[in-house]
């Protein structure tokens, strides 16, 4: 890996990102290269022509449905998808995605939504990581390189979305494509192993095939993608947009 391929996040970039976020929903200004990563051959690197994102319409998200959470657990082998982590307290256990209830205090209107790593354009977890283990892939997916993670958990504290977990105990029944282990931090990977294989993240697939079709996965840089068209037509908000992090996960149906 060379320096160049690591995403260069400077203060300047962060400020630029903030301005873009404030300007509203401009997704990809300027020329857009429609180089679909969809058909990426296995030996080709990912490029910054794409930025992966997920749009969640919480009006379609049933309050009692945990389809996305179940699918993620099954896919990545945590929670119910695993027989490990038996010694950890519930609040210590891994949680890559969870259902959160949001209530409007004034009207009392309550709704649930799935919350996971928001795959920020300017991720605070990457800023604070002392080893460089926390990184943003060039196509916008925020990951932990567990090979160099020392388990300090600064990233967990820095994340405004509480999206990361720490593994406290020895694990044995990992999936071959989703290695996990004691002493390292983990979070939603946007199912990077599936995305590289031209598939959708497990949560999105489960939501659209079995449940309520509340989630759309796609390329935010491509104005012709379903997600970009939907964002252009009906809009979508970034949670805690005030932080200027420009998450790749957007929501519809939340206001203010």
């Amino acid at each position: 890996m060379s320096e160049k391929e690591q995403v260069n996040l400077t203060r300047r970039n962060l400020l630029g990102g903030t301005a873009a976020a404030m300007a509203g929903l401009t997704i990809a200004p300027g020329i857009i290269l429609v180089e679909t990563a969809q058909a990426k051959p296995k030996d080709q690197p990912v490029t910054d022509a794409v930025r992966w994102g997920i749009l969640i319409n919480i009006n379609n998200c049933a309050d009692d449905c945990t389809g996305c959470v179940d699918a993620c657990q099954e896919e990545n082998g945590w929670g119910k998808g695993s027989s490990d982590e038996s010694k950890s307290r519930p609040d210590q256990k891994a949680q890559w995605i969870r259902k959160v209830k949001v209530t409007d205090r004034e009207t009392g209107h309550a709704k649930t939504l799935p919350m996971m790593c928001q795959h920020c354009e300017s991720p605070p977890c990457v800023d604070v990581c002392p080893t460089g283990a926390s990184y943003k892939r060039i196509d916008g997916i925020v990951l932990v390189d567990k090979h160099i993670c020392i388990g300090c958990r600064y990233c967990m504290m820095a994340c405004p979305y509480k999206a990361r977990s720490f593994i406290h105990e020895t694990l044995t029944d990992q999936r071959s494509y989703a290695p996990r282990g004691q002493g390292t931090v983990e979070s939603c990977t946007m199912c990077v192993h599936r995305v590289d294989d031209d598939q959708q993240p497990a949560c999105v697939e489960a939501c659209s095939s079995t449940f309520n079709s509340a989630m759309i996965f796609g390329d935010l840089n491509d104005p012709e993608s379903k997600i970009s068209k939907e964002l252009a037509r009906h809009g979508g908000v970034r949670i805690r947009a005030d932080l200027g992090l420009n998450p790749g996960v957007r929501y519809q149906g939340i206001y203010g």
Partner: protein
């Protein structure tokens, strides 16, 4: 004493000289006819190949199979007498057979699976290249 050992060794022709010291590891053969590269190259350089591939996958999303750790453990899987896969904690495991002899300790299998996985929902070995 050395002469005496030598005498015994010559007597039992099937025994190699190293066995008088630490027994040589018995390394199981992988499936198929050949490894992903020349066997002697793999013996010397496998760690460089997989560690290089590791960064290629992590940062660049390159998912070729040749140097993938998943493929090593799948093709080099060893079964015990009951037909169950042997884990890396056991010296009969392909990687451990050699490493325990050479006193190499790797932490890879704390996270990576050390056997072909039945818990996987996807096939670990993709069909074809």
């Amino acid at each position: 004493m050395y002469i005496f050992k030598l005498a015994i060794l010559t007597l039992f022709l099937s025994v190699t000289s190293a066995q008088a010291e630490v027994p040589l590891p018995s390394i199981s053969k992988g499936q198929g006819d050949s490894c992903v590269r020349a066997t002697d190259d793999m013996r010397y350089n496998h760690m460089d190949y997989i560690q290089h591939h590791r960064d290629e996958t992590m940062y660049r999303g390159i998912r070729t199979e040749q140097d993938s750790l998943k493929q090593c453990v799948t093709c080099h899987a060893v079964k015990d007498d009951d037909g169950g896969y042997i884990n890396a904690t056991d010296k009969r495991h392909f990687c451990s057979s050699c490493h325990s002899y050479a006193s190499v300790k790797i932490d890879c299998f704390q996270c990576h699976t050390d056997t072909p996985r039945s818990t996987d929902i996807h096939e670990p070995l993709a069909q074809g290249q």
